[in-house]
């Protein structure tokens, strides 16, 4: 009995290791420019820094993406859409936050429209400092994420699932209600 359990466990572990290897070396990011830090992403993606060397590339829809990049400040309006997008992504999924605005509000700490700390609403795997981070810093941040995936430390998505109620509570506190009809402006 024990033997088979152990065997299964070993197989699971082995599979886990293999999938982590692939996941670490092929990270697709969602092309969603939430804030100003996104202006350095094209630099990191294109010829000068060529992010594809890390196995990273942009993807068109949240379904296909592995990593969600929060490039800077999030206004409430964007936060709502980010939550939609994050919840659409298939697991495992990661979240990288750029710049000070995601940490503690940044320069918009006193703005009526911008949230202060992102980790209240979504789990974050890596923060990258700098306003805005240079492409090198961005690349290094992704490299850290790759290391974390390899070491099994990038578990933000698990945390989100386990503490969904808490996150939901915060989200609702900021947003009022999570899903709204956005035809109000037409």
């Amino acid at each position: 009995m024990d033997n088979t359990v152990e065997k299964q466990e070993n197989i699971r572990k082995g599979w886990d290791g293999i999938s982590r290897f692939f996941r670490a070396n092929s990270i697709w990011m969602l092309m969603y420019c939430t804030g100003c830090c996104a202006i350095e992403l094209p630099q990191a993606m294109t010829s000068r820094y060529d992010m594809e060397r890390l196995g990273m590339g942009p993807m068109a829809t949240p379904r296909q993406a592995d990593v969600l990049l929060i490039t800077g400040y999030l206004s409430l309006k964007t936060l709502r859409r980010i939550i939609y997008a994050y919840e659409q992504m298939s697991t495992p999924k990661y979240l990288v936050a750029f710049g000070p605005c995601t940490l503690n509000g940044g320069i918009y700490y006193d703005s009526h429209a911008v949230i202060n700390r992102l980790d209240q609403y979504l789990p974050i795997d890596v923060y990258i400092a700098g306003c805005m981070p240079k492409p090198e810093a961005v690349m290094n941040g992704f490299n850290d994420l790759i290391g974390m995936i390899k070491r099994k430390e990038a578990n933000g998505w698990k945390k989100y699932e386990q503490n969904k109620d808490w996150y939901r509570k915060n989200q609702i506190q900021a947003l009022g209600e999570l899903r709204i009809k956005d035809e109000f402006h037409e």
Binding site: T34, S75, D182, E186
Partner: protein, 368 residues
Amino acid sequence: MKEIKLFLGPQHPGMHGNASVHMYVEGDIIKRSYLLPGMLHRGFEKSMERRTWMNNIALIPRICVPEPDTNEMVYAMNIEALAKIKVPERAHWIRMIILELARLSAHLMAFGGIGGPTGLYTAMYWAQADRDRILTIFEEITGHRVYHMYIVAGGVRKDLPKGIENKILDFLNDLESRLPEYEDLVLNNPTVRARTVDNILLPAEVVWELGVTGIGMRSATGQEYDIRKVAPYARYEKVDFKVPTATYSDAQTRMTLKYQEMYQSINIIKQAIDMMPGGKVRAKVADGSALRWRVPAGQVYSAVEASRGEYGYYTVSDGNTMPYRVAVRGASFPQGLLGVEKYMPGHRIDDAPLWFDTMGICSPEIDR
């Protein structure tokens, strides 16, 4: 045919920046469309009322990310007009170099950005690689690649570093020799032309109706409606440059004008480096430390020619240490909101991203 609703953005590869177009389409034709802005609304105008005149320098570049220097320039111009500051001669020329470099960088980005909507990603890869060199130059002059915080009221924050002129000239010569390649790849590309020629028209009446400025205006009216010519600031009246114009505005014309403006910018920078005098680069705004600067009461509007059109700030001072009110006129506000509502319908969904791109819409400056 049934009308279905499609979203172009906010998360969409064809969208520049964080905004959303709600499109109601029948078949492939857009019947109604609305821009949903506000995804980048940060309440700048409010935040600026809470910070001192100098501190706002950290805030204002963020209003338009691809070309932050125009923000600094108009803000500085307003303070200078209110406080009657005489800017040192050299600072004017440095400002011009910075502004034109920024225009080049924004044009390169927009020109390469055509790769998104048309699928010609190679153009984007090339243009971004060239743009990176401008950013490196900016980093050396101002200390940062994107948010320069360099043009301040009274002049510029620091003098140019030694030897930067040669680096700029090297880059300009290099870029000048590379520009024909862009022409071959994008402007002369038959597949791009198939998308852009006679498509996404912008007649002169529409320009006047919406209040479109910049390349859109010049490509439709055929007049040199460029603030650098009409109401010169810095030292644009002293340099010799042309304003490319056209009388038929389709997507191709606007791209061509953008392309020609790059040559003019290169030309202006070269002249400026040549003609720039020495001397001081910053005049005092007010007495005392920056914490205590007061700007005399008054209400003034200044505008500069950004890469996308007239970019202006309306600044109100009540004589205190903080602005009483700052209103920002984003260059693409008219076409971005009213334009999308009125003139995007009728196009095919294939053209929607291209419409957005060639109209030069920058969502952060609309949202503020």
